[in-house]
Amino acid sequence: MTTRTVEFELSTPGVDAAGRDIRVPLGVPGREVEDFPSEHVLINIGPQHPATHGVLRLVIELDGETVVRCIPHIGYLHSGFEKLAEYRHYNQIIPLTDRTDYLAPMSNNVCLALAVEKLMDIEITERCQVLRVIACEMSRIISHIVWLGTTGIDLGAFTPFLWLFHQRELIYDLQESWTGARLTTSLTRVGGMMADVPDGWEDGLRTFCQGFPKVLQEVDTMFTNNAIWCGRNQGVGVISQADAINGSLSGPLLRSTGVDYDVRKDRPYLGYETYDFDVPVGEHGDNYDRYLVRLEEMFQSTRILEQALDRLAGLRDAPMNVADARVILPPKSRAMSDMESMIHHFKQVMEGIHPPAGEAYLGIENPKGELGYYFVSDGTAKPVRWRIRPPSFVNLSALPQMCEGALLSDVIATNASVDIVMGEIDR
């Protein structure tokens, strides 16, 4: 293979400052691109490969079976969410957030509402806080379920996938009876929620919380001591603590290296500091520790859910939405009968909510890491800029480092254990 082919393969089209077409070389910046030795092979995994978990393309340079270089190509799922939001009222952005991290839609909704509330300095009600905690922890469980199930499949274990996806269905059913949709939940509104949980819904979640740990125990039986699972995961995809911090990683990927950073613990929101739970951390920073951390997080989420359900029972008749006419629509029955509420309803819908000029950043602990929404407002009803800090995007940048020097089959295991979701990376 000649050098020309390599340059073509490892670059991407772009424009320079003067607007001319150029090819931008890919790879780790600051590192010299060595000559491509003739015995090396370039292969392409994805974008339509089942093991890349979405439309991710990995260009891999191989020396025999050893990975010399791994370059992720992204952008196949770009939907322009950030730009779309600049033409929408704050509440109209909520359906967009369903579709960024589509494996945990409810916690994205919560993050958006919290960010706008921070911008407007709104204090939400206690019942709303508890409901949002429930939403976040349900999302954490289903997201980790998808991760554990698909990772199992990548490494050849199909059975736990079926058991876990049954549990995921149960959460989806609960999600459906709460929000009216299984995936595109659009659960929150600025200052409150779209809807309260229906009567008797709590019992369904309680039953789930009782049954779910048993299924996790079964998965634990299947995986934790299994020699194949250990062999494919222990010591594979190692990243050091310093590299993880330098790479700005977050979530289970960072915690597997032993850093106990969890937004719920270090910058609590939604009253997380009043719940009783543990933040699991690993020691080695390899795939196996990420598995242990995520498995434990599911147990801990179940614990949080149980505590939240107890609190919810005590707040049965407490108000859910803030009593702030700037952000909350009047109840439907009032808007239909009383003139003043009707005018308020019209004004609210036509003009949207107006946060003061300024900016706000809010990060929450999403299943995949720290999700941050940053808003810049000029005082009008639409944001000037909405920026997402997607945990998967940042975490994916560590993949080349974790793969290089390993075997080709380890790339699949490592990529699975990073737990990416492309909707959020390309957004």
Binding site: Q92, T159, W178, G180, S186, N226, D278, P280, P331
Partner: protein, 168 residues
């Protein structure tokens, strides 16, 4: 109440091929005798443990009054709030000065089924409904006009409805 940190220890025991495989097989075998959870979808549309939620946000339906006219007063709130810009509304006015929609169309292809149109409608006219099977042979058939929206018969979502007080 406290948030602790828990260091995950690796299992001390040696990982095993035979023991783990046998244990796994025994567990899988026990699962064979559990109740089946798969739903045979086209034949079976609901089971004793699951039916479509009454809050489901699906295909739209326009409610009508006793004379069969749509309840919509062409106020313009739903085209304004729709985040997908899929509602087309041309307002008209009759001799008595009542406003009504000359054209009211929803493009179900663009729609994201967020339900905002129902949330804002002050007349409880447009609704999202408890229905999800809407395959068609032609693209054009996905633009539902007023007549088609009014002719839908499926139940409407109980969100934002007085029948479901917890749904606001």
């Amino acid at each position: 109440m406290a948030i602790g940190v828990k260091v995950m220890q690796r299992p001390g025991r040696e990982a095993s091929y035979m023991r783990a495989t046998l244990k796994g097989m025994a567990l899988t075998f026990r699962h064979l005798f559990r109740r089946k959870v798969t739903m045979q979808y086209p034949e079976e549309r609901s089971t004793e443990t699951w039916t479509l939620s009454p809050r489901w946000r699906g295909t739209h339906r326009m409610l009508t009054d006793e004379q069969g006219r749509s309840k919509c007063v062409a106020c313009g709130l739903c085209p304004q709030i729709c985040p997908a810009n899929c509602i087309k509304l041309v307002p008209g006015e009759d001799e008595e000065g009542n406003r009504y929609p000359l054209i009211y169309e929803i493009d179900e292809f663009r729609c994201v089924f967020c339900g905002y149109c129902q949330e804002v409608c002050p007349e409880e006219a447009i609704h999202v409904g408890v229905h999800y099977e809407n395959a068609e042979y032609e693209r054009g058939r996905f633009v539902y006009d007023l007549e088609r929206l009014s002719a839908q018969t499926h139940p409407v979502s109980s969100l934002w409805d007085p029948t479901d007080p917890r749904g606001e």
